[in-house]
Amino acid sequence: MGFALGVDVMKKVARIVTPFVIASFTLGSVSAMAAPSSVIDGLVTTQEALNADQASVDRERVVELLSRDEVRDQLVAQGVDPAQVEQRVAALSDQEVREMNARLDQMPAGANAVVGALFTVFIVLLVTDLLGLTSVFPFTR
């Protein structure tokens, strides 16, 4: 009887659980369809083919993932909201990730603000503006 009860309970549990299991399988396969690599296993992606100077596509993949982590850390260190950083890194190409890792500190950051311009620099820029070399002060145009 204990056994019969067990089976009964099992059936009830199964009745409740089965739809969820089926649903999770279906959802799983839908998300698998969305990921290009799992449509046909083993395809070389276009990003991989573009990284022509690598030793092995598979090894390159690992390096790429690690360097994306590094860029993420760098961006957070530069004050980017951690909630935003994931999407920002995801939008970079492999090549851009490499560039960011190599020289983010030296990269020009477009800002256009005269930050603590010293008087001498002001004079120099005024002269270069008048010569048409620079474009700092609106009144020289």
Binding site: T45, A91, L92, G110, L133, T134, R141
Partner: protein, 319 residues
């Protein structure tokens, strides 16, 4: 005495500095416009409909993006763009993230060749061009993003949405001097299917592929199709189209694209491997194995993976 010696050192320095300035000014007076360029584009053009967004402090990056995105049909507000592209630690926005943010909003950013004629051709074709300038000097940089919306060849002037000023009128020479200090960096943001006017090649394939990584294969198909139509001999473009088709479930068409890729470049191992794998998924095992064997025979980064695929196939053949 000591004061005297410092003073005397100052004047030669100042004089040589002025001399250097005079030498440099030679570069600023002549905008690099060939006769060929002048005849290739209309004398003047102004894209009237580019919206203008003024920038707050340090926000020329987000403001520039807001303008080119809306002009490309994917409006986004400056406030929405700031957390996506602005880098607080640098008080500005860096180039790779400018491109990345364009991708997130559904347009493909193409960096165009750093030449005045390439820039003018895009504007003449109705595309607003985002540019990076160094408004000040190499050793005292003032980096700035702006949008070129028009030009006048006779007057040698450009029209820019820049900073707080819509339709700023700038002499080409002055603009070119500031643009040259950024390595003449410029990009257009185009919907998938449109390509830059200037020559396209490997870089364009890279731009499209980066977009595909963010937005997925299906929205990217029109871009690959245009690139293939424009540069049929670019094997990488055929390869990219093949991958996007395979990922969108169009396997027969993917096979055709990979076939054209290996026709154009018989040493393209990745294209042989992908051709083989798609054929295999279609049940055409004989042809598939031939293609994968070709991939496995070409030394390079794909060889290892192709050999693994051949190994995978072997037990099945013995069954």
């Amino acid at each position: 005495m000591r004061y005297q010696s410092i003073k005397s050192a100052r004047w030669p320095g100042a004089l040589s500095f002025l001399a250097a300035l005079l030498l440099l000014s030679g570069c600023a007076t002549t905008p690099p416009l060939s006769e060929a360029t002048r005849s290739a584009v209309p004398d003047r053009h102004l894209i009237d409909e580019v919206p203008f967004y003024g920038q707050g402090d340090y926000q020329c990056g987000p403001a520039t993006l807001a303008m080119v995105l809306e002009h490309g049909g994917r409006a986004a507000s400056v406030d929405e763009l700031i957390p996506q592209v602005f880098l607080p630690g640098r008080d500005g926005s860096v180039q790779p993230e400018m491109l990345a943010t364009v991708r997130r909003h559904g347009l493909i950013p193409f960096v165009i060749p750093g030449r005045m004629d390439a820039l003018l051709k895009e504007v003449a074709a109705g595309r607003s061009v985002a540019v990076l300038q160094n408004l000040a000097l190499a050793w005292w940089p003032m980096w700035h993003y702006a949008v070129v919306t028009g030009y006048d060849l006779d007057q040698e002037r450009l029209v820019l949405h820049s900073g707080e000023t819509p339709r700023m009128d700038v002499a080409m020479g002055r603009f070119d001097a500031t643009w040259a200090r950024s390595g003449r960096w410029a990009f257009v943001a185009l919907p998938p299917g449109e390509l830059p006017v200037s020559t396209v090649g490997r870089e364009a394939a890279g731009a499209i592929s980066a977009f595909e990584s963010v937005q997925g294969a299906q929205p990217t198909l029109p871009a690959w199709r245009s690139l293939v139509a424009r540069e049929p001999s670019l094997a990488l473009a055929q390869f990219g189209l093949g991958n996007a088709l395979a990922a969108s479930g169009e396997r027969e068409n993917a096979v055709q694209a990979f076939r054209r890729a290996v026709q154009e470049d018989p040493d393209f191992a990745a294209a042989w491997l992908n051709l083989g794998l798609v054929l295999r998924s279609l049940g055409q095992t004989g042809e598939a194995d031939d293609a994968i064997r070709r991939a496995a025979a070409i030394p390079g980064p794909v060889q290892e993976r192709a050999q693994e695929q051949l190994e995978k196939d072997r037990p099945k053949v013995r069954d």
